[in-house]
Each structure stands twice: as C-alpha cells, then as structure tokens.
C-alpha cells in the first residue's frame, strides 16, 4: 500500500510476473497437464521446392503408439471452413494471394514446411512414425537467391505463379529529379541485410482439448495473439465463437514470430476435435529454425544527394525485400522500412521503389524491429558516407539534418498503412544525440584512439539515430471490475509474453484505484472478450494502457459515488487507499472497504441503486488510437577490431533514449537490454545461411550464433521523457527500441576503426571472414 503521493506510474515497481517465473512456478505450454493426451509430430519438407506425390501410410499407421496420420487430404475432411490460413493484412499492392495451407497437397515451398502430421501416444512414437513416412517428393528448382528471384527468367517459387514479384509499391514525395540534379555530393551505395530469427527461449507450442460433455474445444497456445488464433480456429473448424476458448499461458518469449497463427495450431486443434482426445505439439529448436517465421533479408540500392554542407537534398533507390514462401502477414515489414528510412531527418525529396519477392524460404513476418533496423542501417550508413564526402564530423552531419523539437508534432509527407499521415509526435532528437555523444566520450576519443593504435589496437566509435513507431491501434479492450471480495479484476486482450505488461497495467489501474497493485488480479490475452488483438509493434503499454487508464477512471468515479452515498459525504472529500475508501488525507486506517462498496453497488430488490445509474463497479474501455507514438534514441558504440582475424569486440554501448513517460523505468531498461542483445546479434553474429538449393545451413544453436552473456558489452542508458500527446498517459512503446540502431552503430564504429584503410561496411551482420577479406584487400601486404 502506497501512502505517499508520488505517482505509481513512473516507479520501478517489481515485476509481478517474476516470483512465479524465477521459482519454477511459471506455467508454460508444456507444463499444462492433459491426462490421456496425445502428441503430434510433423513430417517436414526436406526440399525447398518439390512436387508432392503420394505416400502409403498403412505401415506407418500400424506403428507402435500411432493413433492417426494426416496428410493434406486427410485433414481436409476436418476443416469444413477451409484449408488455408488467411493471416496477411490486406493491401492493394499485392499481385496474387499466397495464403498458406494447413498442409500443402501438391507442392511444398520451403524446407521445414509441415507436410504430414502423426498423432501418437508419446512424442517419441510420433517422431518415430513421422520419420518412416515415405512421401514421394519430386524436387523442383528452388528460388534461393533474393536478387535472382526478382528477375524475369527466374525459376518460380510456386509453380503456378506468373512470377515471384508479390508486390511492388513505394514512397514518393518532393521533386526528386531536381534534388539530384547538380547536387554537390551523391552517395550511391548497395546494402545487404541478412535473414535471421528471433529465437525466444521457448518455441511455439499448442495443446487442444475437446470436452466430450459440452462439445467445447479448449486451446492453449504459446502465441502473441490468442484472439486471432481463436478466430481462425472458429472459421476453419466451423465452430461457434462460444464453443472455443483460447488461452496463452506464460510465454518464454515471443519477439514477433508468435504473432501470426500457424498451420500447426490449426492441425492440432482439428485432430483433437476429431479424435476426442487432447493433442499436444511442442516445437523443438530444429523446427523453430525451419518453420517459425524469420525476417530481415533486404537488398537496398540507394542514393543520397547532399549539399556541400551535408544537408540532405534527396534520397532515392530500390528496396528488394525477401517475403519468404507464403504471405503470413503481408507487406507490413517492407512498408515499415520504406516509411522509416527518411523519417527522422529533413529529407525534402524521397523516392523509393519497393519490390517484394517470393522465395523458397520460411515465411517472413516481423521479428523484433520489423523492418525498422534495416532502414536505420541504410540511412545511418549513408550519413556516415556523406560525412566523409563533405569532410564533416559524422555527428555533425546528423545534427544538421535531424528534425528539430520546435517542429513537433511534425507531420511528414508519408502515410501510415491506414492512410493516416505520419506525425512525429514529440521528442528532441538533437538533444538525444548530444546526450549519447557526451555519454560515450565522442569528443576526446581521438587521443584514446591514437594512443591505442600505437599499441597495435584499432579502436573506433560509431553512432546511429533512430525512431521507433509504437502503439499500433486501433484499440485494445480493458475491462475493470471491483469484485464482491473487493479485489480489482482487470481483463484485457493484451497478451503477456514476458515483457511485463501485467505489471505496467496494474500500475496504471492502481494509480486510480487505491494505489496498491497487489489488490489487482489480471487476466491477459482474454479471449472471452470478443474484441482484442494482442502483443506486437510495441503497442500494449500504449494502447491497452490508454484503455486501462480510462476504465480505471470510470470505476474510480463509481466507487466514490457509491461510497459518498453510503457515507453521506461529498465525493470530493473521499479517496481510495488500498482496498478502503477513506476521508481524503486521513490515515486513521478506517474507511469503507471496496468489498462493502462492491456489494452495495449491486443494488437491493426494490431499492434505488446507491448513488449510481448502472449497477456494479465495472467499466469496459476501448480507447481508439490512430497515430503512432514515436520513441527515439541515439546509440553510440565503441569497438575494437582485431585486424588479423576480422573479429569485432564491442567494448561499450551508450544509449540515449526517449520513450515518453515511463510507466516502469526498470522494465524499460530490461526491454532495451534485450533489444540491444538481439541487435548485437544482427550486427555481428546472427545469420541464417542457405545453400543454392535454399537448404538452411545454420539450423542449430551451434551454427546460428546467438549472443550470449559473454558477448554483452558494458551498457549505459540515459533516459529523457518527452510525453506523447497522443494518449492521456504520455507513454510510448519500447519493446523494439534496443534492436533498431545496433547494427548501424556498430558498423559505424567498425568503419571508424578501419578509417585509414578506407573500408566501408555495407552488410549486416559483419562476419569475421568478410571483414578479414576487406582488410586484406585494403592492404595487399596483409597485416604485419
């Protein structure tokens, strides 16, 4: 119970989620018991592209423990509502639909695609049987290379498609020809950003349990969007809304790939319903590498026109985006990249042509950052090149071009995917950059660098500015009710995935209702509430936070109205402290309990309601959010490059950061640190490698290099709070913040360390081998 008047929102209240999680009492998907339950395993495609023939399943069906085996044809009978998952967002730029099948019938289009499902008494038996399925596969030529994929004579990723160019769209404003005509400097560059995953500690997983008595189907899934899953199950299985319940238990991370509904979730639900027994599938790491969505591969060919003093005249080019084999979410990732590129700088003319290409690789959906890290990388690399061309400091060229605080809120000549204009809502970008420079010791670094060089060490500093679009609308539902026992029940579609959204919402609600978060019970990702979305796009603290704040105000009003009636005192004289309504300012410990007030609020037969017009202490709010709240930051990095091996050691990161009003500063830091770790992976380590047949070569944690604690540098964070005018709380999201600038800042620092060799970094991640080769090429004699 908090007696002080300091607002709860803004305090580092300990995460309510942690006690259970760190003491082994968390309940993840695979912890949920299902007596008599069965286990599913999938036969997955060994080819990136193949025609599917037939399989004789008699022997497999007779194997020990096997209960059922499903191919596409077998499953079709269980899916009266259709056999494809329509999970893509609509767009008029899309040339052809590529909704993915639950199981493909004629053609498989990426390695790891589920082709058949075995349900058996144990997982081991299911895997034994899946391994024995002898499915005829006739390999077809795959589309393995993004650049080739867009060519007219390229093989086709799906045999029936006219070509691989799923969509072509762009961004354009200003007089681009004039901007380049006679520009003192034009920087023309190509950049390549590689494909990677998110690798939550817990993979995907689903458990479906039919109830023979009621006919209801209960589904638990490790998903960010239980509402979407429920909708898809109801559609494809042709079940009524009321007959299906979907729950997301504790999630061991998500980071994007648990955003869309997957074929496995539908297949498992269908089998459970057909077999009348619970069926469980828990993704293993190899499956996660092959079949959980990935992101980031993009090829940029771009030009930036500059004035002699470094001011940007224009920006144009082409973005080639790898879409993967199916449309699992749509154009949101390349859209975000294109929108982000010029967003925080004054770019008078912009013309970007975006080509979205189908490849025979795992489908692409957002991975923490969702297109924003790539755009930041490209913009910041161009600015570094521009600084060199203009002969000015890398920080100075940025300062000259950043949108200044006097222009906030600042409408940009760009549109959100909703068609609404993009408005930078608040923030002081130049000051954020100045804070980062100060923090890393930008000025005065030259001495350190020279002195280190004399000892044979190559140090470098780099920086990158970024904005993060957060709080995607349209709304999230929050219902608050004071129960008969005085507990405050908060139900919302917002979904927890480890980020602490429960703690944040409890703080926001408690602010109005007694200021004691321990009186609050939360139900997150609640699909009994028909309208909801879930967790993505760094949105929940903003969007659910706004609804929680509004609902809590309404409930507070009702509590005080009833109390005023019962106590015969004016409402203004009353306050809520923990679970009591007290006379404002009193600390006698006496008052009317929320339980008493809740009981009274229900009314009595034949009597008027006590001081209120509608019964109960309850409110549901869905605050509509149209614009996006833009968080911003500047990351400065110090690295040391080992000239002989090409290894980059990141010594320090300093992040100056502004995500508006912070609900819980400690959780903000946690989000940032996790994001920076992922960004470090994108900068130096994480890369999904494929061979020319689109076979993944790095499908294990031994080959795909995730950052470990040993690779984490010293990290310092400085916060500024520029409240967002877009919501009553003034908050902005932070979930993707750390990941966005990291590859850019580290590339900048590596270039700095190798400045005298004239090496430019144009790929992320930077592999030791590529850097070594570049150093070699720059010095034919090789390192001493």
């Amino acid at each position: 119970m908090t007696q002080s008047n300091a607002p709860l929102v803004g305090q580092s209240v300990p995460r309510r989620e942690d006690r259970a999680l760190v003491s082994g009492k968390g309940r993840f998907l695979d912890d949920i018991a299902s007596p008599g339950g069965l286990h599913a395993a999938f036969l997955r495609s060994p080819y990136a592209h193949a025609r599917i023939g037939t399989a004789d399943l008699e022997e497999v069906r007779a194997m020990p423990g096997v209960v059922a085996v499903y191919t596409a044809r077998d499953l079709a009978a269980l899916l009266p509502g259709g056999q494809r998952l329509v999970t893509g967002l609509p767009s008029s730029s899309i040339a052809f639909a590529l909704d993915r099948p639950i199981l493909p019938e004629h053609e498989t289009v990426y390695v790891g695609e589920a082709l058949a499902m075995v349900v058996a008494e144990t997982r081991a038996e299911a895997e034994d049987a899946a391994e024995m399925i002898d499915l005829d596969l006739d390999p077809l030529e795959p589309v393995a290379d993004l650049e080739n994929a867009a060519r007219h004579d390229a093989p086709k990723a799906h045999a029936h498609l006219p070509h691989n160019r799923l969509a072509r769209f762009g961004f354009s404003y200003g007089d681009i020809a004039a901007a380049f005509d006679g520009a003192p400097h034009v920087m023309s560059r190509r950049f390549r950003i590689d494909r990677g995953g998110a690798h939550s500690m817990e993979g995907r997983g689903v458990l479906a349990a039919p109830d023979a008595m009621t006919g209801r189907l209960s589904v638990w899934s490790s998903t960010q969007t239980p509402h979407a899953l429920k909708r898809h199950i109801c559609t494809l299985l042709a079940r009524d809304d009321a007959e299906v319940e979907v729950t997301a238990p504790d999630l061991g991370g998500a980071f994007g790939p648990k955003l869309v509904t997957y074929p496995e979730e539908i297949a498992v639900a269908a089998a459970a319903q057909a077999l009348g027994r619970p069926v469980r599938w828990v993704e293993d790491r190899r499956e996660h590498f092959l079949a959980a969505c990935q992101e980031r591969e993009q090829l940029w060919t771009v030009e930036m026109a500059l004035e002699a003093d470094g001011r940007i005249r224009g920006l144009r080019g082409t973005l080639l985006h790898d879409h993967g084999a199916w449309t699992a979410r749509g154009l949101n990732v390349p859209y975000a990249s294109g929108m982000m590129l010029p967003l925080m700088y004054e770019v008078p003319a912009y013309d970007l042509d975006i080509i979205v290409t189908v490849t025979n690789k795992t489908p692409v959906t957002p991975v923490r950052g969702a297109g924003q890290p790539q755009a930041t990388y490209v913009m910041e690399r161009l600015l570094d090149a521009g600084a060199r061309a203009c002969g000015i400091d890398r920080a100075e060229i940025r300062r000259r071009n950043l949108v200044t605080p006097d222009r906030m809120p600042c409408e940009r000549p760009l549109k959100l995917r909703s068609g609404e204009p993009v408005i930078l809502d608040s923030g002081d970008y130049p000051r954020t950059q100045a804070t980062a420079l100060e923090g890393i010791g930008w000025h005065g670094f030259e001495d350190r660098r020279r002195e280190a060089r004399a000892r044979g060490k190559r140090l470098g500093l780099g920086l990158a500015n970024y904005v993060e679009g957060t709080g995607r609308g349209p709304y999230e539902t929050v219902t608050i009710r004071v129960a008969r026992d005085g507990r405050i029940k908060v139900n919302t579609g917002a979904a927890a995935m480890g980020q602490g959204v429960g703690t944040a919402l409890a703080q926001i609600v408690a602010e109005h209702l007694g200021r004691d978060p321990s009186t609050i019970d939360l139900t997150l990702g609640d699909t009994r509430e028909p309208y909801g979305f879930g967790g993505f796009n760094s949105r929940q603290t903003v969007v659910a936070g706004a609804s929680a704040d509004a609902a809590a105000r309404v409930v507070r009003r009702k509590v005080l109205q009833v109390a005023a009636h019962l106590l015969q005192m004016p409402e203004e004289n009353l306050d809520i402290a923990a679970d009591l309504v007290i006379v404002a300012g009193s600390n006698s410990g006496e008052g009317l309990s929320l339980a008493e007030i809740a009981a009274a609020s229900e009314g009595l037969p034949g009597y008027r309601l006590p001081g209120i017009d509608t019964p109960g202490l309850q409110a549901t709010e869905r605050v509509l959010i149209e614009g996006m709240a833009f968080a911003n930051g500047c990351l400065a990095a110090e690295v040391e490059v080992d000239e002989a091996t090409g290894a980059v050691h990141v010594a320090r990161l300093f992040l100056a950061h502004d995500c508006g009003r912070m609900v819980n500063p400690q959780m903000v830091d946690g989000q940032i640190l996790g994001g920076l770790a992922h960004g470090l992976g994108n900068a130096l380590y994480e890369k999904m490698c494929f061979d020319d047949q689109a076979q993944p070569l790095t499908a294990s944690l031994a080959d795909y290099l995730l950052v470990t604690s040993a690779e984490m540098p010293v990290i310092e964070i400085a916060h500024t709070e520029s409240p967002s005018p877009l919501n009553a709380l003034g908050v902005k999201g932070v979930g993707e913040s750390g990941v966005i600038p990291t590859a850019a800042a580290i590339a900048s620092a590596v270039e700095h360390a190798l400045e005298d060799l004239g090496i430019e970094i144009s790929e992320a991640p930077i592999s030791v081998q590529a850097l070594h080769a570049a150093i070699r090429a720059a010095r034919p004699g090789g390192p001493e």
Binding site: D284, Y685, S767
Partner: protein
Amino acid sequence: MKPAPFTYYRPTSLEDAAQRLRDGADDGALILAGGQSLVPMMALRVAYATELIDLNALDGLDRPRVEGDSLVIPTLTRHATFHDARAAPAPLGDLLACVAAHIAHYPIRQRGTFGGSLSHADPSSEWCLVTATLDGTVCLLSADGPREVAARDWSDGPMSTTRDPDEILTEVRLPLPEASASWGFYEFNRRAGDFALGMALCVIDLQDDRITAARIGIGGIEDHPRRLPEAEAALIGRAFDAAAMAAAAEAAMRAVDPMEDATTSAEYRRDLTGTVITRALEAARLRTLALADPA
C-alpha cells in the same frame, strides 16, 4: 527431438563393456561417456544407437595419475577435472588448465570426458590437439584384449578415428614435457565457448637462448588436429624472436590443407593458421621471459 528407440546397458566392468560392445557393435551399439556430443546427436536423429553401453557407473576411470614420465588420463576424466592445475605436474597442469577453459561451457565441462572427446574426434577438439601435439598414446580395449595407437595415427578424418567399432578407449597417456619447457595456447572462435575456428598449441625448449625443440600443433583448421613439422623446423636453432615466429607462421600457412564450411573459407582458415600460431608462440615467449626472470 526425441531419439529413436534404443536399449540401455550398464556394464559391471570394462571387460564386460568390451564383450557387450563386441556383441552389439555391428548392429549399432555405442559407448555412452559424458553424452555431451552423443545425446544431442541422437536427439537430432543424426546419430542412431541400438544400444547405449554406459560407462559412467564404472569406478576408477575419472582420476588422472602420473606413471613414469607420463600422465595417464582414464577415459571418464571430465574436462572440468583440469580446471585445477594441480591435476597434473607443472608445466602440464597449467597447460591443461588453460586449454580446458576453452572447451565448451562450464556445465558441459562437468560431464564431457577426455575419452569421449578423443573418440568423437571433432576437428576442433582441444583434447585431440593436446594429444597430437604432445605425441600421446591412445589405449583401447576390445574382447580380444588391449591395443595402443600413437596420437599421429589416431584420427584419419573429420570425426573419424582408427578405433574399431568394438573397441573401447580406456585411457590416454601424455608424455610429461620438460619442467623447463614453455608453452603457449591460442584459440580463436566467434563466441566464447564455441568450437574453435582455429587454435594452436606449442611447446618450446630453449637452451642458451636458442630453440632446441619445438612442438606446434593446430586444431580447427584441418579435418583433424596434428603437429606441423614444417613450422616446427622453422624454429629450431633460432633465437625465440619475432622473426622466428613469423617464419614458423609462414611455413604453417603453406603446409596446411584447411577445411571449408558454410561460413568459413579455406583461405580464411589458412590465414588464421598464421595468426593463432603467432599468438600461441608469443604466449610461450612471454612465459620464457617469466621463467628466465621470475621477478
């Protein structure tokens, strides 16, 4: 990630294990030691065993001891045993402690075994490198009796050895280096705990400031760790200085036949050979200086 079905057998003695392996090896019976390589490979179904013969319950197979002028390392000796430099006499104890810290991660080192590492014969196995560089001896036992294999004849390819499928590795003998020898080890990998992209171990004897004997071994570069006579020859008779080290590195880079994989070219590994050898030699040279001038 569930292994295919297998049976499990816990032998009562090495002889019992050897007999059981003789009976089952043709069908695919395998020895289980620390399980840090075998178990994940079975879970991924890239390795299949019809039967696992688990040595872990056998006594007396996990403490190294000195016999004559060798260190005898019984097969179940865990990597972590060598965290403590006193597990072997100086300077070998320090050498093994330094090398052990580069094997995988702490929890894996508690279970993984010296004999398992030699049997698994990963091109980047630190213990294979140590055994090759010091010219150790690998001791085997089958139902027909014991057999010894010299380190240079042990590995014949990536993850491949001259051990017959029905032979059990019982121990490895490492000759103790001269007390006056100095040594150096350098390993390069992209993340802490990863298998080495390249590593070098050297042991140098100096007399009157001249190098009288040199061992230089490399691992992670070729399909199995080995000594590099060309690089060693480049050092003999010379002062232990930068020029000598550069000559050894040059000779090594010419002599190696590096592997290639998804992310690393042969050319990179060839260059890395020179770097890791130079850095291992530099570490040895610093130790020489420390020996000469203990203050």
